[in-house]
Amino acid sequence: MDKFTTLTGIAAPLPLVNIDTDMIIPKQYLKTIQRTGLGKGLFDEMRYDDQGNEIADFVLNQPAYRNAEILVAGDNFGCGSSREHAPWALLDFGIRCVISTSFADIFYNNCFKNGVLPVVLPQEAVDHLMEDARKGANARISVDLEAQTVSASDGTVFGFEIDPFKKHCLLNGLDDIGLTLEKVSAIDVFEAQAKTQYPWV
């Protein structure tokens, strides 16, 4: 997994609430057996018409946002299914950070496994950044994970909260499984104990 430290880039505004994982990456893209190549399907039904042509209005089809690296979105982003294809698609498109007032739990968790930073900020801050994002390439937003800040183009700085362990793993690009396997003896002990206490399991 790639590290996430700082990021300064174009932010795309997507002011919709309850953007679900079916919207982020619809079912037809779930048939892959790989993690890569899903960027083309990101927001498919909003991005392309029935013939597969780009819908010009959609934010990521507008010239200013084709290289967006940040997404500013409405409340409850990523609700719905557990598909990790959602962060895979964002990442493959080039988006490394999503800013919203809240995220669905499974999506939120999945982001951290893929080097994508979900940032939770209060409504006023998201509104401010949404306005900033509407300025397109004229307004770059900066994210600093170590400092836990997001800076708007006018210099306004918003601090955000993040779980220290998740932050540590993201800053260092750490592999969860490797970390857990360092505790394999604790797992062995647990299993042995469970075998006597709950033998039917």
Partner: protein
């Protein structure tokens, strides 16, 4: 284990959590042991590939159960050949991974194959007090047994395969109590939709919901699974119901349930699995069962719930970001504010899914359909949740009722709940569905989904529009 436990009153969630705690860091990051890992073809191939690439293996193959369900066709001949190449590749990959890593497997040729959340309980893999995970958000279903069950992403699937644990922080406790008795025509699906309508799709975010109260106790195990299944639609990763005699009766004798002395030992522990008097709740919601009517969804979020006696709402009746979302929903759904819900015509009926694909659901739909036919121009599909549900429905004569009413009688799978297989809606087609998500495009690009109970879906089928099942019920 008991070593971690204090004497303070606990919730059911607290108890299961404590019993599975392997390690806890000072910042609250925990390692939780996983008793059952359910695997399907769509969210697992990258995880198995990850194991191969790193030279790791499956730590506890005996606790890992695989079944293809999401994109398998529900028509005959699928055990010989699947037309869609990508689907075939995924199912073949699951076959190979199950074989290579030695995990339990129910291929499409096995009568026990079905939707993973129906197969687990049916085979006795799901037991009270367990931790159960699957790369699927509707894993919450298994909470009906008093098991802590939730969906995980593919990276976590790989993590569980390799370590049989998950890195987690403890969620908050939320209690949803449904007091009193349900009125006729009101079902478990109406309860779960009514709860989501009340709390919203983010109302349970960060929480585990325990459902309790007389109306929950009165539900069958099938009904309880329906309620817990949609906890995720209320934002909660897991829903729980304390096990009781109904739970034990359901579990007893299942192929993988404990037997003999092991059963007695298990039962002794299971009987302690309830929230203690005085346990602390972070959030409490109470709904009177008498206030719940048969409901349907009108929009593109499961929180867009209304009693069938209602009318399509105006976007201005909402506040904040929901105003725009409601307008977008109405545009997508092709609906105008003020239209009576019972005036909305439908084109299709889908009965099935991990929410409502169990035998009791088929019985409820068949009770409405008996002696009736689908309205002209309406197509109907019944997809049993497993091969065993299908066989039982045939034995009980339900399949014949569906066929006589004009429904297609399919093989088991997820089917049109998420339309990964050939079962899809056409653009603009409107469907009365017993599934769990009415998201844009969920049942096919441009397809319009109204969620409801099996009895309500059957009523819509014979009426040709959204309908109040109570008007079709024989007087008591």
């Amino acid at each position: 284990m008991t070593a971690h436990q204090s004497s303070a009153p606990k919730t059911l969630y607290d108890k299961i959590w404590d019993a599975h705690l392997v390690d806890q860091q000072p910042d609250g990051t925990c390692l939780i042991y996983i008793d059952r890992h359910l695997v399907h073809e769509v969210t697992s191939p990258q995880a198995f590939e990850g194991l191969r690439m790193t030279g790791r293996t499956v730590r506890a193959p005996g606790r890992t159960i695989a079944v293809p369900d999401h994109n398998v066709p529900t028509t005959e001949g699928r055990d010989k050949h699947i037309d869609n190449e990508e689907s075939r590749i995924q199912v073949d990959a699951l076959d190979r991974n199950a074989r290579d890593f030695g995990i339990h497997y129910y291929p499409v040729s096995d009568i026990r194959q079905g939707i993973v959340h129906i197969v687990g309980p049916e085979q006795g893999w799901t037991l009270p007090g367990m931790t159960v995970v699957c790369g699927d958000s509707h894993t919450a279903t298994h909470g009906a047994f008093g098991a802590l069950a939730h969906g995980i992403g593919t990276s976590e699937v790989e993590h569980v395969l390799a370590t049989q644990t998950l890195i987690q922080k403890k969620s908050k406790n939320m209690r949803v109590e449904i007091t009193g008795k349900l009125r006729p025509g009101v079902t478990a699906k109406d309860i779960t939709l009514a709860v989501i309508g009340k709390i919203g799709t983010a109302g349970g975010t960060g929480h585990v919901i325990e459902y309790c109260g007389e109306a929950i106790r009165d539900l069958s195990m099938e009904g309880r699974m329906t309620v817990c299944n949609m906890a995720i639609e209320g934002g909660a990763r897991a829903g729980l119901i304390a096990p009781d005699e109904k739970t034990f009766d359901y579990v007893m004798g299942r192929p993988h349930a404990p037997k003999g002395a092991a059963w007695e030992a298990a039962l002794a522990w299971w009987k302690t699995l309830h929230s203690d008097e005085g346990a602390q709740w972070d959030k409490v919601i109470t709904i009177r069962a008498e206030d719940i009517e048969p409901v349907v969804t009108w929009g593109t979020s499961p929180e867009d719930v209304l009693p069938i006696t209602g009318a399509v709402p105006a976007p201005e009746s909402f506040s904040g970001g929901k105003v725009g979302a409601a307008q977008r929903s109405l545009d997508y759904m092709g609906l105008k504010p003020g239209t009576k819900l019972t005036d909305i015509p439908i084109h299709a009926v889908f009965i099935g899914s991990c929410t409502n694909g169990r035998i009791e659901d088929l019985r409820a739909a068949a009770a409405v359909l008996k002696g009736r036919k689908l309205a002209p121009g309406v197509r109907g599909m019944v997809v049993p949740g497993s091969g065993l549900v299908r066989a039982q429905a045939e034995e009980e004569g339900l399949a014949q009722i569906f066929v006589d009413a004009g429904f297609e009688w399919r093989l088991a799978g997820c089917s049109m709940c998420l339309a990964m297989n050939p079962d899809q809606l056409a653009p603009g087609e409107r469907c009365a569905a017993t599934s769990n998500r009415n998201f844009e495009g969920r049942q096919g690009r441009g397809g319009r989904t109204h969620l409801m109970s099996p009895a309500m879906a059957a009523a819509a089928g014979v009426t040709g529009r959204l309908a109040d099942v109570r008007e079709l019920m024989a007087p008591a």
